[in-house]
């Protein structure tokens, strides 16, 4: 190979490599294939506290460091909820939403996404508080009645989805209701 042919080849290869680099830096890709829309449920909800409290026995207190000796310990957390979703009268979700956090004292977070074909759909969402028994909470030794559970949140509405459109249903704290948020 002559020196000029080699140099030409070197430049051609460098140009081709650069072209390849540029091409690979902009490869068309569809992150969400198809033309489907989506029903997205996303909200943060602080449910009522459900606790089982009891007094510690002197023996139990003696085992604790001085600065940790509280007379009463409470176990439990925020009340869990049941999330049920129907689309066109077909159930698509039935889950228990539990409070986040090690002590179950963080709010309940809902984030569910359901791909739907473009067009009209009937969506029905029911967010129901679970009772202490279902929530597997302890009993109140002092016989305290747990606070009354809030009424279930219900959302029923027709959705007309354009291709790739996201219908967001969220919780409106002021209205205390599930609402559809529009962009």
């Amino acid at each position: 190979m002559s020196a000029w042919a080699r140099r030409l080849g070197a430049v051609a290869f460098a140009c081709a490599a650069t072209a390849g680099l540029v091409g690979l830096s902009r490869v068309p890709w569809t992150a969400h294939p198809g033309e489907q829309g989506q029903l997205r449920l996303a909200w943060r909800f602080r449910s009522e506290l459900v606790q089982a409290c009891r007094r510690l026995t002197p023996e139990e207190l003696a085992k604790l460091p001085v600065h940790m000796r509280r007379g009463e310990v409470c176990e439990g957390g925020l009340r869990p909820y049941r999330l049920e979703v129907w689309v066109d009268d077909r159930p698509v979700a039935d889950d228990t939403i539990r409070a986040a956090g090690a002590h179950a004292d963080r709010p309940l977070f809902v984030l569910r996404e359901f791909d739907l074909a473009p067009g009209r759909h009937e969506a029905r969402i029911r967010f129901t508080p679970l009772g202490p028994a279902e929530a597997e909470t302890g009993t109140d030794e002092r016989g305290r009645e747990p606070r009354g559970a809030a009424p279930p949140l219900v959302f029923t509405a027709p959705l007309v989805l354009a291709p790739r459109q996201v219908a967001l249903v969220t919780y409106d704290e002021e209205r205390r209701a599930l609402v559809r948020r529009r962009s």
């Binding site: 490869v27 890709w29 569809t30």
Partner: protein, 528 residues
């Protein structure tokens, strides 16, 4: 190294050798970009830093997409800088991966090199995180998809009081704090890269951080041209209430999206952890089997003169000069001492030691002399024949052969390990010539073996080839593992030269004979 690991490393070395040979043919070994992949990655990152500082001046976290659009369309040099920033980042990833692949394939990733391997992985990881945060900064479709995917993974970890994914569901506007943290990570992480880079090269005696000028500026010019000819355009803006459609994605940074998006986060974490562990553990599973590790160099204090040449030549700073164990010894106050934990057993110290007092057991200068004696006895020297001294790693793979094109092959573990006395031994034994074939200097598995050998043979570097050795009978050539044809051509050219030398010597002998005969005849005639 396990049998599987050995086979795997061998298998990945073949395509590397093939690519090296092709690129050497085009660029010569001096400019082969594969040989400079590590320093290219570092240099390209410098380009990314410079262009990034320019872009940062115009970026606004309150309106990320709009500000990037303004940079692209209105700011002076904005489009060029943004494009160069992107392309240099992509090229840095390619160069970094090529460097990593090379180090693994050549089994330069374990023992004392473990620190460089692990810190190199950290560098690569930080580069990826910088890239991801950079794409999120733009807040186009790709940025949104990367952010949502990252949030999906992070939400599996019990670290955050609220799921991060909620940020991107459209329930509320994305807070500026998110873009601020993202920008902070994007800008702050590169500052830490300097420290990791220092760690990465901390065990090297003379780290090279800049590629040859032509290669560096050639790369910058090409990427600049690409930035002008094919500038980066604005992809559709992120819209969390609209599912992302077809958009351009950067394969170098967003390669994982098609793989991970269909998978649950737990599977992604497990797969990611498995891949990361496998790569991080390369030094463990690619190392030599216990008992088969190449032994570190040792110093024979009775021979060491304290000249410091091995200390200077060691590419890994594994040799220190310390006080003699016997202070009364009149030879020198200091002697060399090898730190076995830092020694890669390259044997370069053996080639640097004139009195042959240092080197890995079995490969010191004295060991080499006794070995070459046996070799010459087994291969009687022929005046016109050439002996090939080949590095057994590169050199066209010739080092693994007993003979090549009729020439006897004497293999050495590294050209830098070769003691110049071995060359002298061959020449004085009567061979026509000694062709030393080393790996190209930028591809020396022990970094500086070929460089030091060249200086020892032709530039009087200790332990130099003695002046009494006819340099015309010694030739140094470079060939990569896949360049057997280069060795063949070098051998043919050197043989022709040796033949001419022999013929000239023969003619000189004839002339002397003729002169002697003529003188004798004249003397006889005078006597009569």
């Amino acid at each position: 190294m396990s049998r599987f690991a050995g086979r795997f490393a061998g298998a990945v070395r073949r395509p590397l050798a093939w690519a090296d040979a092709r690129l050497n043919a085009l660029y010569r070994w001096e400019l082969n970009p594969l040989y400079h992949s590590g320093v290219l990655a570092a240099s390209l990152f410098a380009v990314v830093l410079i262009t990034g500082i320019y872009l940062l001046v115009f970026y606004r976290i309150g309106s990320p997409y709009a500000s990037v659009a303004r940079i692209t369309n209105d700011v002076f040099l904005g489009s060029f800088m943004r494009s160069l920033h992107r392309y240099a980042s992509d090229a840095a990833v390619v160069a970094g991966l090529a460097h990593m692949f090379r180090m693994y394939a050549q089994r330069r990733s374990w023992g004392p090199r473990t620190l460089a391997w692990v810190s190199g992985l950290v560098l690569l990881g930080v580069l990826f995180v910088c890239g991801w945060t950079g794409y999120v900064m733009v807040w186009d479709v790709q940025g949104e998809v990367i952010a949502r995917e990252g949030a999906r993974w992070m939400d599996l970890l019990p670290l955050f009081s609220e799921p991060i994914s909620r940020t991107f569901v459209g329930e509320r506007p994305i807070p500026n704090a998110f873009f601020f943290i993202n920008l902070f990570a994007h800008a702050a992480l590169p500052l830490g890269l300097g420290v990791v880079l220092w760690i990465h090269v901390s065990r090297l005696a003379r780290p090279v951080l800049v590629p040859p000028r032509l290669l560096l500026w050639g790369s910058v010019v090409l990427l600049s041209l690409a930035s002008v000819v094919v500038p980066v355009t604005m992809a559709p803006a992120a819209d969390v209430l609209r599912l992302p459609g077809r958009a351009p994605y950067d394969v170098f940074f967003a390669f994982f999206l098609p793989l991970t998006r269909p998978l649950p986060p737990l599977v992604v974490w497990l797969a990611g952890a498995a891949v990361t562990a496998a790569v991080v553990m390369v030094p463990a599973w690619s190392r030599a089997k216990v008992g088969q590790e190449p032994p570190p160099s040792v110093v024979d204090e009775t021979l060491c003169t304290g000249c410091e040449q091995c200390y200077v030549d060691c590419p890994y700073e594994a040799i220190a000069m310390v006080s003699r164990s016997d202070p009364a010894d009149p030879r020198s106050a200091l002697v060399a001492r090898v730190d076995a934990d830092l020694c890669t057993s390259c044997g370069i110290c053996a080639g640097s030691c004139a009195p042959m007092g240092v080197g890995p057991p079995g490969r010191t200068g004295r060991d080499q002399l006794s070995r070459v004696g046996g070799f010459v006895a087994a291969h009687p020297a022929e005046p016109r024949e050439v002996v090939i001294v080949a590095c057994d790693r590169g050199a066209g793979g010739v080092g693994a052969l007993a003979t090549f094109d009729g020439a006897a092959v004497y293999a050495v573990s590294c050209a830098g390990n070769l003691h110049s006395s071995v060359i002298e031994y061959f020449v004085r034994a009567g061979v026509g010539g000694v062709l030393v074939v080393a790996c190209p200097p930028r591809d020396c598995w022990n970094r500086e073996g070929a460089k030091w050998l060249e200086q020892r043979l032709f530039h009087d570097r200790e332990a130099e080839l003695k002046p009494r050795v006819d340099r015309r009978r010694v030739r140094l050539g470079y060939a990569a593992e896949g360049e057997r044809a280069v060795v063949r051509a070098a051998l043919a050219a050197f043989r022709a030269e040796v033949r001419r030398l022999e013929e000239a010597a023969a003619e000189q002998d004839i002339d002397i004979e003729r002169e002697c005969v003529e003188d004798y005849t004249a003397e006889q005639a005078g006597a009569r």
